[in-house]
């Protein structure tokens, strides 16, 4: 039962993470390859504040605020770039943030990481046990899902989709694509920060090694596998992949195979990403009402 709840909590956290990326990749067409940076900023902010005996509420609010601010600061120059350059810029940013976690030892204790992150207390109720934490993440996931669903279905969301399909046409209709992209990017970063904060308080230990390219690939794969630009795709993708990843962890292999298992698992992720792009770029769930699909769009 505990194992099942653990899987559920991990899954819910990654659903929040993937939903935020889906807003950027799926609906706005922003290819953010450094999403882990905001996950990390959220995790470190909330962990550091609560470790210094600030209340969890403040830690959470600051985590969201800082992720949003960093999203804004990164988006300001890089969203002026074309899709692939934006991709590299965010990829570099992800690595940069990890370097900051690693080198600013006075703040983050560097490679030693931050142990003993307290369990969250919300309105003087302490979410200490696993079922309680499950309810907490379930609540936050529901909020994220509903918020993003309303956002996507609002006129704002329709503009985002228009920008994804044809930026010039959207601009011709008087929409400032750059501004909309920044807004979408900031919202996405804020929710990634939320996922990070929840993750940090759940594992109670974070270190720079938790925020590598692997996390970016994993969350990207969740979105791509489930179906980008769909409401339920990230949920399906997260369920499949987190179950796969975490079940390997309980596969009680002798430790000498451990050195091979992690790279092998990550090779599978990479191969799966290539496979999806080659054979089913739209993902397991197809986006409805979209005739020209980005994955197979002809350029001639």
């Amino acid at each position: 039962m505990d194992l099942f709840l653990h899987l559920c909590v991990m899954c819910l956290i990654y659903i929040i993470f993937a939903l935020s990326l889906n807003l950027e990749i799926g609906y706005t067409g922003l290819f953010n390859f450094g999403h882990v940076a905001f996950f990390g900023i959220g995790a470190y902010t909330s962990a550091l504040l609560t470790l210094h005996h600030f209340p969890f509420e403040l830690g959470l609010v600051m985590a969201l605020t800082l992720s949003g601010i960093f999203g804004f600061l990164l988006g300001l120059p890089s969203l002026r770039l074309r899709g692939d350059f934006f991709g590299i810029a965010t990829l570099g940013f992800g690595e940069m943030i990890r370097m900051v976690f690693q080198n600013e030892v006075w703040l983050t204790k560097g490679p030693m990481g931050l142990p003993g992150i307290p369990k969250p207390t919300l309105f003087s109720f302490r979410f200490a046990t696993l079922p309680q934490y499950f309810l907490l993440t379930l609540g936050f996931t529901a909020i994220t899902f509903l918020f993003l669903r309303i956002l996507i279905r609002s006129p704002f969301g329709r503009v985002l989709k228009a920008i994804r399909e044809d930026e010039i046409a959207a601009e011709a209709l008087g929409k400032n694509a750059y501004r909309f992209k920044i807004k979408s990017f900031v919202v996405g970063s804020i929710f990634a920060g939320l996922a990070g904060a929840l993750w940090g308080h759940y594992t109670t230990f974070i270190s720079p090694n938790d925020f590598t390219l692997l996390e970016t690939i994993l969350v990207l794969l969740i979105v791509v596998l489930g179906g980008k630009g769909t409401e339920w795709g990230p949920l399906l993708g997260a369920a499949l992949l987190i179950f796969f990843q975490e079940s390997l962890r309980f596969l009680r292999l002798p430790p000498e195979y451990g050195r091979y298992l992690a790279p092998l698992q990550q090779m599978i992720f990479g191969a799966l990403l290539i496979f999806m792009m080659l054979f089913r770029p739209e993902g397991l769930i197809k986006e409805r009402g979209r005739r020209v699909y980005a994955g197979t769009q002809r350029v001639e």
Binding site: P77, R80, F85, G87, I88, E95, I217, A262, P263, L273
Partner: protein, 288 residues
């Protein structure tokens, strides 16, 4: 102090030579195939590891013999990735290609980790005291880096401006459709592009690993540097990539004098962001 500073400049030029090799390959692929190949860093890393594989037990080949086969293997890797992954996606959208190359990059990086582990390795040469030249110490390996990258640049120049294939590659980079209409065999030129790009990546990776060390993460960080160099010089612009690589190498080594060495790899990213802020989008269209 002045010799210390000279040494820094020298190290910067040395790094710059290597980054230029990476950046030229990246910008070539970009120019001809019109997408940023995230797996380019992994070609760099695999080039270095191929040499390690040939020089390690059980083969124990000397550097002079293992060097060429290692480069050939890198070229095969590049050609293979094109044949089996990028060729079927030739007409896919740019974003599909991006995700694919990111997936490939991750696959290859963990492949290296699977075989050789995550630890930092060296080729196992004993550290030699460099000779002194104007107060700057140069090791034989570093001399080899400068000589071979200069040689490479000259050959590249001859290839692109004197040979038929080089000219057709430049034509395709300018305008694929027009080049096709003019009867330039685009498939062969694309293959050639991969050969040259993987050759440069493999060579650069080997040179870098000779001068420093090799580990599976070296691909990604050098991809960012190569990209920063590409941006500095203008995307698709070969000589710009050379210049950009030099600037990145120099500023990285000079900045270490001022900043914590832990941030050495972040300099390239900083330069990239600064370039974006100053010149916004105009820089990306150097051909006009």
């Amino acid at each position: 102090m002045s010799s210390f500073f000279l040494q820094t400049i020298f190290n910067g030029i040395l790094a710059g030579c290597i980054y230029a090799l990476f950046a030229i390959g990246l910008t070539l692929i970009y120019g001809v195939l019109n997408f940023v190949n995230f797996a380019h860093g992994e070609l760099i890393m695999w080039g270095a590891y191929f040499l390690y594989f040939l020089m390690d037990r059980p083969l124990n080949l000397p550097l002079s013999i293992a060097f060429l086969p290692a480069l050939c293997l890198t070229i095969l890797l590049g050609l293979g990735s094109d044949r089996f992954i990028f060729k079927p996606l030739r007409k896919a959208s740019r974003l599909t290609l991006l995700i694919t190359s990111l997936g490939l990059s991750f696959f290859l990086r963990n492949g290296a980790q699977f075989f050789w582990g995550a630890e930092i390795r060296t080729y196992g040469f004993e550290i030699k005291r460099g000779m002194k030249l104007f107060g700057v110490s140069i090791t034989p390996n570093q001399l080899a880096i400068i000589v071979s990258s200069t040689l490479c640049m000259i050959l590249l120049y001859l290839f692109f401006y004197k040979s038929r294939m080089g000219k057709s590659m430049r034509a395709i980079s300018d305008d694929l459709e027009l080049a096709r209409v003019m009867g330039i065999p685009s498939d062969r030129a694309i293959q050639f592009t991969w050969i040259i790009a993987s050759f440069l990546a493999g060579l650069g990776g080997i040179l870098l690993a000779l001068d420093t060390n090799l580990h599976p993460g070296m691909g990604l960080i050098n991809l960012v540097k190569a990209f920063a160099a590409t941006l500095l010089g203008g995307v698709g612009n070969l000589w710009g990539a050379l210049l950009g690589g030099m600037i990145i190498g120099l500023s990285e080594n000079i900045a270490v004098l001022l900043l914590s060495p832990g941030y050495k790899d972040a300099i390239a990213f900083g330069i990239m962001v600064m370039m974006l802020l100053i010149r916004s989008s105009t820089i990306f269209w150097p051909k006009e």
